[in-house]
């Protein structure tokens, strides 16, 4: 078991992905309800990548197809929603998934999971949270 703990300790804290960043950014927002519109999410994701790609290498795996008049589209957006919804970190209530919800309990879970690991990106993530609040938040 000692060996197991050593191995778990090595690297696990270091391994973070773009999904972790957005989980924490969502958890740090003031709102709990967000638009689910993929066009608007794509625009926000694109802006975040342009602004923070050099500062947070986790964002370096996100790529876009640019096909105006569509917003820049990314497979990683769909992956983000999947990765957050499969473990129940966000909810996509029916009908038609107009909303993405991260309630207080889900926020607490995300903060517990990601807060420490992403501490060095705290400032950037706070800014992303503000952007999410400004652009995607809706009244619950």
């Amino acid at each position: 078991m000692e060996k197991l703990e050593q191995m778990q300790g090595s690297g696990e804290e270091e391994f973070t992905t773009f999904e972790d960043i957005f989980a924490l950014a969502l958890a740090n927002t003031k709102s709990s309800h967000f638009k689910a519109d993929s066009d608007e999410w794509h625009n926000v994701l694109y802006e975040v990548c342009e602004e923070y790609r050099d500062k947070m290498p986790q964002l370096g795996v996100i790529f876009f197809d640019e096909r105006p008049p569509l917003p820049p589209q990314s497979n990683e957006f769909y992956q983000l929603i999947t990765t957050l919804s499969m473990p129940g970190l966000i909810s996509l209530p029916n009908p038609n998934y107009e909303l993405i919800v991260m309630n207080e309990e889900q926020k607490k879970r995300a903060q517990e999971m990601e807060g420490k690991r992403l501490d060095k990106y705290k400032k950037h993530i706070q800014k992303i949270s503000k952007l999410l609040d400004a652009r995607l938040a809706v009244q619950g």
Binding site: F15, E19, D65, P68, Q73, Y78, I81, S85, M86, G88
Partner: protein
Amino acid sequence: MESQKAFVQLKNEVEAWVASIMPDGFPKTPMPGKNETKVIREAVTGYQVLQPHEYLVLDSPLLQRLRYIHQTALAYLVYPTANHTRFDHSLGCAKIAQQLGEKVIRREKTRIAELRLAALLHDVGHTFFSHLSESIMQSRFGDLYLSVKRAPQFKRRDLGLAEIISYLIVKSERFHAFLDRVVHYYPDFRKLDLDEVAQLIIRSPVDEFAFMGEIISGPFDADKLDYLVRDCYFCGIRADVDVERVLVSAALLDRRRFPSSHPDWIERYLVMKSGGVSILEQITFNRMLLYPAIYHHHKVRAIECMIKSIFEIIWEDPDKITDDRLKFENISDFYGLTDFQFLALAAAEPRLKPTVDRLTKRDLFKRCLVISRPYLKQPLGNFMNLVRKTSEDYPEELRQLRKIIWAELPKDKRVSIHDLWVDIPKPPTSIAKDPDSAWVDIGTREMLRLRDFFPYPEWVTSYEANKWKGHVFSISDPRTRRAVNEVAIKVFKEHPYYLEFEEHATKECKFPS
């Protein structure tokens, strides 16, 4: 790595490989006359007429190797008739691209010839085991790949490595010279633009025919229309896409139909008339169907892990591999081999032979634990920590997890680490992109998209929540599998996952009683 430097590095690798495989001055025989067309028939799309330059291209060593690259890798070990190849698919794709082209730009014969040539060449950048080796290369040479993707040439598109290599092959000096010789020899095709063909492969044409990129790669492109039908047909899956209906309902739409049209947009868009909406739904449905049936089938994934284990052994200690062709130090090293050449060379290596023998005798890895949301007890623990570590994108992180399980196995049941795999397939998220981007023209001022007709997120999310499955695999020995099952359950219960499995996660592995 700096993107342009990465681009030049990969370009040079591809140039050197193409020069090694493509004889200078090919073909050595006299050029056939312009009327010496040939007819070819293949199982899915039927007959098509090949122009002389087309069969000369098909006869080149670069295209002929596609005959020995299976479309669905080793899925024939699960579906015995899944023996279709990239060569067959390229032919089918050319026919559908031509038909789509004839539907929307009937009179533009040169443009249609460009479409056909791009379709014939769109998969020339694939190598043995198709997307499996592509995924292995993308993670092994991740830094190079991600940097090349950011090169200005590819900036506006999210491209897979095989697409990039296809483009580089078509642009390579040797192959480009060959194309120039065989295509422009014929007066009817003197105006065929080879650079446009290369651009079509990466979906980036720039002129008023930019919509042609959507015929090669778009929400209802020739590639998809062919592989969906072909994979179903050869795997024996009862599903179909009504390609003829697509051809009836596809149309071009001027950008001025969009209320906020902008001069920077392309001039014309490939759209589906409202009558074809059901076909778009059918395409999305069939793509969804094929994931559990083929691409994420547990046996297919087990086979993929076995191939990955061969690479792991190679790269663990390349000096112990005697044949230099199996060292795979560069991306271009992958391109010297086809499916059976790889297996034959690997079978001759003592360190790789046991795995190859198991593959050829179909003694495949078996399930030790099934990871799926319905098989997890509530609360779900830190499931996210696991699902984001996909086998395709984060093999190193999953290797750490495998090591933890391996270290906990009782010594008498401890298999080689190469025979123990945690497989987390990438959810089929890209399926959701098509409904977001497929334009539907209902005849009013308003342009709609498939997503306005079809609540796809509900579908995709339900799939991912309930059908998606990851696995822990190991060799078929029942004692080993049981031991791996017990240890894996224990490991997942602890930090950092905190997952508890329902009984069914074990039951579905069908351990012998």
